[in-house]
Amino acid sequence: MKITFPHLGNTYLASKALFDGLGIDSVIPPPSNKKALEIGSLYSPEEICLPFKIMIGNYIQSIEKGANTVIITGSCGPCRFGEYCEIQINILKKLGYYLDFIVIDAPTKNGIGKKEFLNRINKISSASNKKNSEKIKALKYSYKVITLIDKIEAKAHYLAGYESNKGECKTLLNKCKLDSANSTSPQEMINILKYYKNKLDKIPIDKGKNPLKIAIIGEIYTILEPFANLYIEDKLMDYGISSSRHLTPSWWVKDAALKPLKLNSLDLRIASRKYLPFYIGGHGRECIGEVMLAKKHGFDGAIQIFPMGCMPEIVTKSILPSISKNEDFPVMSLIVDEMTGEAGYITRIEAFLDMLERRKNNNVLYGCRRRFS
């Protein structure tokens, strides 16, 4: 069994740590790239959303490297993501790839049920010849890896606005990812991550700076996967802007684990109550909560990113202008699909940042600030 999985931001590091720990052969697909997207758009249904297309590209590129089993998570929410597995199985079968698909679905009553869930988990765990204690250890390590890399990334993105030597945070973050991807054991990866975490703390910063602070919100795949959002966070780091993103893989794990107890993301639920008091699927409610939190924490603006046709985010997109007006908080929506041109995308981001900068320095002659003060 040679396992592969679709990319989602930094989760490949955690998956690598997990499968290394379990002693299962795994193939990390090449980082999402133009070729993967081309393959994906060729074979996918026309109207499906962008994550589906990139995922198909990921699978096929790793099948070429010898993978024969795909692991993905499922969901039973009203968003399209839950139906991905069925269509993807059909597409890959039609292309002549005979693969095993292991779909990790929630073990709920209406879903696959507890028995089937354990069955599927067992399929993975039986491929490993390690002892049970070692398997649990591997799981623990992989959770540690994902929390560490999320922390490092969040810190690097935030410090990018304050660094004394321009570009230091970005170089360090890239080096950190590269080194940990090249590690040979989970323990080694954690050591590398810890080393870089300490190094990041020692980066010389200029506390006198007052950079723009921007929250990245929107659909979880497009904001986590840098290729899907055309590397927006790297761009913001280059501009010397502090950015922050609430949704991370480690947040997702925590959220999913606490959901049965109804204790998940209380802060977002309270913050979103005024504008969207219901879960509408995907991460629509979270998106509204993040805007309200960003406003509360003194951010200058927010950028919403979602793939074309994303159903929950269309609802939030129609709510955001009201929030923007009522709370005096600028929000820009960017929609990405396989046809997104980078030049137009950059222009919009730059224009938005310019606008925020002028607002911040209070040299706006007209517009929101005066009207609402």
Binding site: P45, E46, E47, I48, C49, G74, C76, G77, P78, C79, R80, G82, E83, C85, E86, I87, I89, N90, V103, D105, K109, N110, G111, Y275, L276, F278, Y279, I280, G281, G282, G284, M308, G309, C310, M311, P312, I314, V315, T316, K317, S318, I319, P321, S322, I335
Partner: protein, 316 residues
């Protein structure tokens, strides 16, 4: 008290219930007109660009009647079967309406979980709290409305035509004759009879669902997929026309699923959006019907070229 009911989305399926419920509570009802050009334009004006056509049309219906009523009833239908949803946009519909359209009157937007009688009654109590406090009256209105809905059935089934196709799609596309440009009449005048998903018993649908790897969690997907695949397998139809609105997330999945399981049954996917070009629409329907006629009358079923007769199995 005047309550406005927009004639959009699932109104076509559940209007007996909603209308008689509010009538029994002694409310005056204002129901918007059938969809027309003006309503469509209003909807396009107010709604976000990315939304699908039915949502835009619904915005138009609300905008048309909003100034004449005290409350607008915007149904937030979360689920009509246990463990199934409608669509994320239905769950957030009141928020969309409230934030998109300026100067809205109050909205009745209590969530509807119509999975059983008790859950639906909760909705009735919540919604009618602004109208009356008389529990007895609410209960009576609720039961009358439920009865009316039970006696109501929609659906189209023509028997007197030689050709017969399944017209599949969301109810608000199939029954809104402005949005689908009189598709039913057009097909009838071309000599094609229609059967809709309402005439497939739910037992048969359940049977078709079982072969899927994952049980669909949308009620629309269950209905459309189950009924069209059942009809195709039973060979009672000559073809399928799937009426889909552009950028519909559910249809992008369901169409693929249907195509996968109907073998050689001809299928036409008609996309509708606010750019109503009727000529191209007609051409596609006529071509499809021509093809069906030739298939049944002039050509035998053996493929003249290629290895397999059916896409899934070899028969020769």
């Amino acid at each position: 008290m005047i309550i406005g009911i927009p004639k959009g989305l699932l109104y076509y399926k559940y209007y007996p219930f909603f209308e008689s419920f509010f009538k029994e509570l002694d409310c005056k009802l204002i129901i918007s007109n059938d969809t027309n050009k003006k309503i469509l334009n209003l909807g396009i004006k107010y709604c976000v660009d990315e939304a699908c056509l039915p949502i835009k049309v619904f915005h138009g219906h609300v905008a048309e009647i909003k100034d004449n009523c005290d409350f607008i009833f915007v149904p937030r239908i979360m689920s009509i079967h246990e463990g199934e949803y409608i669509c994320p946009k239905f769950c957030g519909l009141p928020e969309m309406i409230f934030n998109d359209i300026p100067n809205m009157p109050n909205i009745l937007s209590a969530p509807i979980y119509a999975t059983n009688k008790n859950n639906l009654y909760k909705w009735a109590i919540k919604t009618s709290s602004v109208i009356t406090n008389n529990r007895f009256k609410i209960k009576k209105a609720f039961l009358t409305a439920l009865n009316k809905q039970k006696n109501f059935s929609c659906g189209i089934k023509n028997n007197s035509y030689t050709l017969r196709i399944a017209l599949v799609g969301h109810p608000y596309n199939v029954y809104d004759s402005f949005v689908n440009m009189n598709l039913v009449k057009k097909l009838n005048s071309l000599g094609v009879g229609i059967i809709t998903e309402e005439f497939v018993p739910s037992k048969c649908i359940d049977k078709e669902i079982e072969i899927l790897f994952k049980k669909p969690f949308w009620s629309f997907a269950r209905q459309s997929y189950g009924s069209s695949v059942y009809l195709a397998h039973a060979k009672t139809i000559d073809g399928i026309i799937y009426l889909s609105s552009f950028a519909c997330g559910i249809d992008s999945i369901v169409v693929e699923l249907i195509k996968e399981h109907i073998y050689d049954t001809p299928m036409l996917v008609l996309k509708i959006d606010e750019q109503t070009g009727e000529a191209g629409f007609n051409t596609r329907i006529e071509a499809f019907v021509d093809m069906l006629e030739r298939r049944t009358q002039h050509e035998n079923n053996l493929s003249s070229f290629g290895k397999y007769l059916l896409s899934k199995q070899s028969t020769i």
